[in-house]
Amino acid sequence: MCSKTILFVEDDEDDRDLLSMAIQEINASAKLVFMENGLRALEYLNGVKQASQLPCLIVLDLNMPFLDGKETYQKIKEDLQLDEVPVVIFTSSSNPNDRELFSRQGVEFITKPDNFSMMNTIVVHMLDLCGKHPN
């Protein structure tokens, strides 16, 4: 169903940059699509779902303007087609309530790392999750 495309929903330019660098570093063939908030991400997803070009993974930041990660996740769950795509939360939020909320729904909650080698490890893990729905 999916191309080897990862949708990275992130409002922070530096984080988008870091992810690109990590992908480049491990020489992965995956394509990265960036959207700067949930609203733009849903627009993109609704566009590509018609053409059966859904990404293999959606990486969601939590704190974003207009539509945050939590709200975006709810919208994805409401759409049967979009719900097929595995979702990972990738955030700097260390709020235990957020972690609890997503782990209850079986969604992987990854805290943004504070060093680059960990970033590489996380990207390898993300590539591994591509197309594998946890449920």
Binding site: D12, D14, D15, D17, L18, M21, L62, N63, P65, F66, T91, S92, S93, S94, N95, K112, P113, D114, N115, F116, S117, M119
Partner: protein
């Protein structure tokens, strides 16, 4: 004539200077149930009550002897069978046939006593009612004061709870984010195989993030200052304040032509420093989110209205004077669905956004003053900020703190020339 006096409806009696009864009329005898013979030669003490006797000896007769007459003396006489007869006596001392005599005329005043008693009772009950009423009024005022205080406290708890949630988000996200990024970029710098261009890029990033973190901390400091510093209300002349803002913003944005047009603005009792901050942030946003034209036009209008001072307590009303100030710009605007979030700490919607704290500071200022702030906007339609502030701070309604509204021309324009 003498027989008329005998039967006239008044008590008439004559005493000698030593106090012996020389004559009494029939009406007196009938009223007191004595015969004339029984009384003559006796002292009037026989029909005086004890109190009357004392009064007669200490006041009545000394007065009569001294002044020769006494008028409207109220006495209680006793009938033979012990009944009481209230009378009003006029007396005169005369020398008749070489002998000093005291002539007394009395009229019975049953009703006067009754009226007097009724008057005293009415006065007492009126006094009691007045006292009770003022106690009731006082209690009512006290209750009102307590309700107002309770409402203020509930509002404070609500705002503080909101602040706490926001601070939670700031600590768990907004402060963590730049620190983490600094750590990652520093880590990348340490890797030896980075090209010079790459290193420069990373250094530039580190510099920028450090500045962001500094701005975030100074914004937070400003926010905490606003929550902790007590208000110093004074009469704030909004027209003058806008003129000052106009000049300040013109100095800060030399490339932008700023025009602020204000209708007649009534002065209000508020904290001048905080009002400056409020209008500075709102007007700065109008400049920051301007259209490409390089011209910024802001219209400021105001009107007074009566609104309920109570925010939280249901069924409580106290209508006080508020001023509603509307600041309308013609900038790029924002989707209406997100206008509620703009007042949250460090909420940024656009790359053009500043520190993400300006409108949080504005909200804090109006909260401090017991007012409210809302924002309406549509993309391409500009933004309308509505500020509602009480004309007088709470508890100071009675103080004549304000000068009368200034008479300035209906429309005042401030424009900087670029």
């Amino acid at each position: 004539m003498e027989s008329y006096v005998q039967h006239a409806p008044c008590l008439f009696f004559v005493t000698s200077d030593n106090g012996t009864l020389l004559d009494v009329n029939d009406y007196l005898c009938e009223s007191l149930q004595y015969s004339r013979r029984e009384l003559l030669g006796l002292k009037p003490d026989v029909f005086f009550s004890v109190a009357t006797r004392i009064f007669q000896q200490t006041h009545f007769y000394p007065l009569l002897k001294m002044q020769g007459h006494a008028e409207e003396i109220y006495l209680t006489l006793l009938t033979k069978d012990g009944g009481q007869l209230p009378v009003l006596i006029n007396a005169e001392r005369k020398v008749l046939e070489g002998e000093a005599v005291n002539l007394h005329v009395g009229i019975v005043v049953h009703n006067r006593k009754k009226f007097e008693d009724e008057l005293i009772a009415a006065k007492k009950s009126a006094e009691a009612a007045l006292h009770e009423n003022s106690a009731l009024l006082q209690a009512k005022q006290e209750l009102q004061r307590h309700s107002e205080e309770l409402d203020r406290q509930i509002q404070l708890v609500y705002t503080q709870n909101e602040e706490l949630k926001q601070f939670g988000r700031v600590v768990t996200h907004d402060m963590q984010e730049p620190l983490r990024k600094l750590s990652v970029f520093a880590d990348l710098l340490q890797q030896h195989d980075r090209s010079e261009t790459e290193t420069d890029r990373l250094m530039e990033k580190i510099g920028r993030i450090t500045q962001q973190l500094k701005a975030l901390l100074s914004g937070l400091q400003q926010y905490v200052w606003l929550t902790e510093t007590p208000l110093v209300p004074s009469a704030v002349d909004l027209s003058r304040l806008l003129l000052e803002m106009q000049q300040q913003l013109a100095d800060e944005h030399k490339d932008v032509q700023v025009r602020i047009e204000a209708s007649t603005l009534q002065p209000l009792a508020a904290d001048l420093k905080q009002m400056r901050l409020l209008f500075y942030e709102i007007l700065s946003n109008a400049i920051r989110f301007r259209r490409e034209t390089g011209k910024v036009y802001v219209a400021v209008s105001a009107e007074t209205l009566h609104l309920n001072q109570f925010h939280s307590l249901e069924g409580k009303y106290k209508f006080v004077e508020f001023i509603r100030i509307q600041v309308k710009d013609q900038g790029i605007g924002l989707p209406q669905a997100y206008t509620g979030q703009v007042f949250e700490l460090f909420k940024r919607f656009d790359a053009k956004s500043g520190r993400g704290i300006g409108l949080s500071l504005c909200k804090q200022v109006v909260n401090n003053h017991g007012g409210s702030i809302t924002l309406e906007s549509e993309p391409g339609e500009g933004t309308l900020v509505t500020i509602v502030l009480p004309l007088h701070p709470r508890g100071e309604e009675a103080k004549p703190a304000l000068e009368p509204p200034q008479t300035i021309s209906n429309k005042t324009s401030y424009a900087n020339d670029v």
